[in-house]
Amino acid sequence: MRKDDIVGLVMAALSSAAVLIALGMVFLYAPREATMGDVQRIFYFHVASAWVGFFGFFVTFLAGIAYLARQERRWDILALSSVEIGLTFIAMAVVTGSLWARPAWGTYWTWEPRLTISAVQLLIYISYVMLRAAIENPQQKARFAAVYGIVAFVTVPLSWFAIRWWRTIHPDILTGGEGMALTARMVHTLLVSLGAFTLLYFTLLRQRVRLERAADALAGLKEHLSPIAYRESRIADRESRIADR
């Protein structure tokens, strides 16, 4: 087994263990919230998912700047890989948030500022992936994606500050909103969940980057093979002509 594979396995094992510990803390260590009851336990993984989504988009933002400055393919790979993971986790945060909102607010969805910005953010980053797929030229694709990733990042601070700038029913975990007074055990559980999800993000990012590098190697191999395949077909033609004589 290669060293690279061992590192991947160790990271996967550590992040799986961290997520299982966080899950154990959510159900066994964190106390039952007095107002909302057990459904409040959604909050720990919901916040952690949103954090990883934001962090993923932040990495794309930084990688976009690095790509524009250096024009190196590795920054484009990092940006694309991070968007894919960020998108999955933001989608997870939106869905788990809706499942929390139904018993807490009486509805799965309401067009209040934080939720509206989250929905727009999701669509903006889905467009990032779709637009990448629509551009053929690799350099043009990378340049366009870098600029798009930088501009799209504006949705992250907008989403973060939405609950402070505008009137909203979404709880604020830092200041402690309505029905959101965290005890010490709740804070511990939240911090462990955030740590576990961050580890999971880096594990997934590493695998996703490897996939993109392998895809690059494949594309290079195909380019290398095409003239050989042409010569191979010419030889086959010549041999068939000789056989015909």
Binding site: E84, T88, W100, L200, R210, A214, A215, L218, I228, R231
Partner: protein, 54 residues
């Protein structure tokens, strides 16, 4: 309680979907690379100089 179970099911479903998607694409790319390399090896044998006595 059903909302809680659904939320954690969503977490596992999304995580496994992402892991499976990366794994499946990696497998496909690796298989293609192997196929191309074996083809390349075969072609390069045609173009390689004949060994002594060949």
């Amino acid at each position: 309680m059903s909302y809680l179970a659904a939320a954690y099911a969503v977490f596992w479903a999304f995580t496994f979907a992402l892991v499976f998607s990366i794994w499946a694409r990696q497998r496909r790319v690796e298989r293609e690379i192997e196929a191309l390399l074996s083809r390349l090896g075969g072609v390069e044998e045609v173009f390689a100089p004949k060994s002594a006595g060949g």
